[in-house]
Symmetry: C5
Subunit: 354 residues, 5 copies
């Protein structure tokens, strides 16, 4: 299946509110973690039944439900029931192939964005869809598998003195999105290091591996750009969203996000240009090396051509070839040949062909 | 006739309300299917005379007329009469070469879009114009031939519990357009698979067939882009349309369509870039292979050049060539030749020319 | 003079209301044709003196003045006088090199657009400036020469039942512009056919003629694009114009024009991309053919190089060359040579160099 | 110093109202010419002291001060004093390297634009900054040197019947800007002629000179575009300026300017594309010629290779070479050689390698 | 670490108000300089403790705090305390990798921009983040190291007569930004000089060094563009900012900045295009030189090929070769060879292959 777009026959024509999972099942069981906090208290539990979630729903404190695994339509139906969410909302969440987006529903705001991770060894970037629903005091985050990048946020929540403990769900959402985008920049900066490291090799001794590396980096950068460019649009829309669930005091943070995502997009654009330039430099260097070789070899051959011709002349079997009789002819021939060879060498040197 | 634009002399200067069919006749007889439903009842009939349609016109329930074949001006005139549609509207419907568009007429909304299908064998994409007219309780869809992609919608309508049974014509139109756009993404993802499958061949052993395939895919992608890019504009206009025939509650669905069509356009852009990169990689690989061959052959020739020259020297017929008399000369010559050849090989190896 | 922009020293610094003809005189005498009609009557006359036009000015019926030839400042002055038009307006009309534009003057609206025609034989596109002035009941069209593309409109006017007979000058203007734009699309579709016809030749047997044809088509397409791109802007401005001379009921038609001109622009963009791709394919095919030839020739030469060397060895005149004495040496040499040649052939085949 | 941007260390950090001349001093003495007119009278004088200008300041008639040379800060200070202009305004005028701009000051409007001239011999374009200040009844134009393109305007002013005599300073400013932009188009059309003249040479017999010419024209076009593109923005801003010094009746003229500058920009874009295409055609033609030569030479060499090999075979000195004894061998050898050569020629012809 | 984007794992997930320094520590100790002035007095002191700053806070006069070094979180906390600034603001200041931006906080406006410096020897551009906070009467500027470009402003402040002494903090901010942007233009003009200096070498005798220089300049220009393009957005936002800390009378200056930054961006775009063209010219020149060499060498070899063949013919040892017996054969052979060589030379000359 295509890495950039995937759609099977099966997915066509589904109703928009059908709880149908589009994507690859990446985890076996759905997992649910709850963090509940306000400025005074903090609680972290792992619950197994989605129905248990209901008791957090109407609490005044901020509650963050983190759900790993989206493939279970039954679990989703329970969540919809517990939080009085329209099936439309959860169908959106289950469509992991959709573009990053902000939807302002009647009783919640849905934000979805691509979470990216780079395999440090292969350099390949993997993508996972992250959906966040915020309501009055509840934030639900949906991930395709367990393991995420949100530990720094959890740490900050545990610390009673941090701003996050005194803020609402909107600030929590900001904190999560901030980490996602910081990860974009981290990956770009990672790619960037590799790209800039190529520079040195390029000018000295470019090999086929250098080229393969450039092409690989180009492909990964393309893949990354395909995922973060729509996020830019989404973050901008979010920063302008007029919703009851987002306090005006949080807007300054969302503006910060706009700045960060713009930086990510611009950096990826810069690196794309650099890769293009590197490809050009590679080709130039390679072809200039080849040209040098071919020029050298050609000049070398050309020098022998008249000499071989002269030897051929005196290899003829004519009855009368006066030079053949003369005692010193052979040595004169060598002399003439050496003069011709040196003359040509000087000529080629002067013309800068050697 | 051009595949991208077609206009014959004959089509120039027609009045905008003349019922003149522009396009290729793709079906012999016009066919009319009616599906009538509300939350309580469901009826599906095939009628042969367009005039019979009139009885559905003022029913409270939602009625979907599906008309296959547009070339019959007489039938069109009847439809115009039955539904009190201006000739302008139906002339628009019959112009199958026009751009995707939304027109907000006095008593109806006309939407037209390109429906695409990919021949699984040849990989060629075919296009058909789809026009949809919605009125208070009536949706009329016009296709150029029979056979379509709307069966999933018909299934959903048959199921009394589905949202579509409780919704109006606007939701029905959304459902149809959604399938059309899902098909775009399906085709793109199909092309995408083929494009990504080329990658492997490209680096190992690119052949002329690989190149032809890239060029073919490029042409199909261009064709696709030409048809879906204007649809993007149209869907955006539709999502902002302020019409009595579209309920505000449907706007969330039309926004979803905007997201989908954007995804389609962006994916096709990504694949276009990938194809460009593949072309470059192809050329680089091919030319680097050729260079290797030429370099090898040249080096090979160059090694023999001084050897042949030496043989030539001792093929001369001078009376006095001292070396010729010496007993071991022939063997010494062989020795010198071998030394020269090995010396050159080592030199070329060191210079990395071999 | 440049085909894309022309400006002589002489044209610089003229007052904006000076009746100065900028362009090439393409016709000897100015010709004036009048069509006057309403839903009840129709009259068509050719008048020689511009002053006679005055009697149509205040009639209730729609009057279309068609003026061929703009170079006569005297005639222009009479027209200005007859219709109480500012000299500014007519100076605009006489500047045939200006961009397509809409100007909303106090007592009239001026529209100017490029009319294009393709010479069916040479494939060259020629351009003529068309200016249309509309007032309450009068439309004046100015062309640079006689012979135009408006006959279908004249036919429709003659037919008393057609919508055009019941409509005003704005509808008449729409009908004229519609034909102009339809002609754009016709020319593009014509170019398009030629462009797509090249495809076949490209892959089989591209010749220098194919290349020249591509370059010619590219130039014509550029020329066309240069003329229709500004028209897009103009038509859009026209569709948004708030003027007393344009009825709201005509806006739907002007919107149609926007769609058509957009289609023209997009098609020309598509064909431009196709031409670029074709150029690339041409170069790839040509260079791949050349490479095949050169590779074959080089391989051929390389096979003879060691053989000639061996012959050279036994052409030396050393007193002692043991092989020379042996009876079967000559035949063994042949054998060795054949083995070497076949060995090399096999090696090259395996390496896919042949 | 760079031709596209110039900035010396010295210019950094100056106060915005410091009367510091940035640019090259192009004229020795500052010169001041005054034209004063209304519909009834006309006066033209040359004054040497800027202080004398003051008497024209409060006249009802329109007064045009034309100042050549900006390097004299003292003179500038006098002008500022005479016309009660802020130093900011005149510092702007003296910064000849700034972008074209419109500034709406409290008691005046400042417009600056690049005036361009093409050296008819070298084809090089030179640029001069023109600043225009308009107040109630006074227009001051500042040029870097004497000699300008405004004579046609002066002529029009002398003629009492012309519109310019009855109009205000805004119309005068329009007339000056109109000439400047007409000159842009004139230069573009001039470059255009040269560009289109290259076309012929390109296909027949492209030489190194053709390439140099294309590169030169490209550089000049770039230079021109760099100067007129910002002017487009400025003219647009001017046409939308809401100032007391510009009558609404003049807006139609400023709109005309917008059309003209757009035409200039679009034409320069077209020519830029044409130059790119020409470069491509040049390279294609050159490389196809080279390929033909190399192919011919290679084929020529290849034909002799087997022949020389055969001669080599019979140059060997084996005791037993049966063919050598046969009487007609030599002639047979010639026959075989001719057959081989002709055979190869036919083969190469068939393969279209010759 | 990447030069274009840098992000370490460590930086991800920090709270937006955490005083965490992102960047390289470029200076050991934090330094604080205070300039306090109004139209009557002027004072300049260097203070070591940030707490001492507090006494300037509520003075009516304008106070400029210049802080070099941002890595000290403790010092930052003191500043936050002294000036009642939110931690958010100072955390922004300490993030030296962020994009140029304007933030309008409750009690201050924060502006950050990249300050650039060019190493005159290596031609490498270094970047430093400059943050400026303005409040009612206080401007605080933060730099990463000591040494800056603001001396001209300090000079202007010392001079009691200058406008800056009578203006507020907004004018002071303008003056600082103006210098930063002037430095951009200075660097661009510096690069520009180098770029234009390459032109000469390019056409005469392009060497590998020329290419390396072009690539280096391209990289620096890219780096520069990456830093100034976002500044353009920021300056535009600043010029439209509606803040209590910016007087309307200063807007004209900020508009001037917009003009300057636009000029910088456009110039860098122009030079980028020129560099691209130069790269093309370089490749063309190099490849045309190579082609000339190869053509010459090939022609040279080709001339000897038939001559060597002829010599080979008469080197054969056939018993009967009639020509061998004839007395003048050898001389005739020479004659024929010379005729052939000259004939080929003439042929190649005529064909323009030499």
């Amino acid at each position: 299946m295509g890495r950039f777009t995937r759609k099977s026959k099966d997915e066509i024509g589904r109703a928009p509110d059908e709880l149908f999972f589009r994507g690859d099942k990446k985890i076996k069981n759905v997992r649910l973690r709850v963090i509940d906090f306000d400025s005074d208290q903090f609680e972290e539990v792992s619950i197994s039944k989605t129905k248990e979630a209901i008791k957090y729903k109407d609490k005044e404190s901020v509650t963050w439900f983190n759900i790993d695994g989206l493939h279970n339509a039954e679990a989703m139906r329970n969540i919809a029931l517990s939080f009085e969410l329209d099936h439309l909302v959860l169908a959106d969440v289950m469509d992991t192939h959709s573009r990053p987006k902000v939807h302002d529903y009647d009783n919640c705001v849905l934000v979805s964005i691509k979470m990216m991770q780079m395999n440090e060894e292969t350099g390949l970037i993997s993508v996972e869809n992250l959906s966040i629903i915020i309501m009055k005091t509840v934030l639900i985050s949906f991930q395709e598998r367990d393991g995420d990048v949100f530990d720094p946020v959890r740490e900050r929540i545990k610390n009673a003195k941090r701003r996050i403990r005194k803020s609402g769900v909107d600030y929590l959402m900001y904190a999560l999105l901030d980490i996602v985008i910081d990860n974009y920049i981290y990956i770009i900066s990672n790619l960037g290091e590799k790209i800039e490291a190529i520079e040195g090799k390029l000018l000295e001794n470019p090999s086929k591996e250098t080229l393969d590396q450039i092409n690989l980096l180009k492909k990964e950068l393309n893949f990354l750009r395909k995922n973060i460019n729509p996020a830019q649009e989404m973050i901008l829309a979010l920063s302008k969203l007029d919703s009851e669930f987002i306090n005006e005091s949080s807007l300054v943070h969302f503006k910060e996000l706009v700045g960060n995502i713009n930086q990510a997009v611009e950096s990826s654009d810069s690196y794309r240009e650099i890769l293009s330039d590197q490809l050009n430099i590679y080709h130039t260097t390679i072809s200039s090396k080849l040209n040098d070789v071919m020029k050298f070899l050609t000049v070398f051959s050309v020098i022998f051509i008249p000499l071989t011709f002269i030897a051929g002349i005196y290899g003829t079997n004519f009855d009368v070839v006066p030079e053949l009789k003369y005692k010193y002819s052979y040595f004169i021939m060598w002399g003439v040949m050496i003069v011709i060879a040196i003359g040509m060498l000087i000529y080629f040197k002067r013309k800068k062909w050697l």
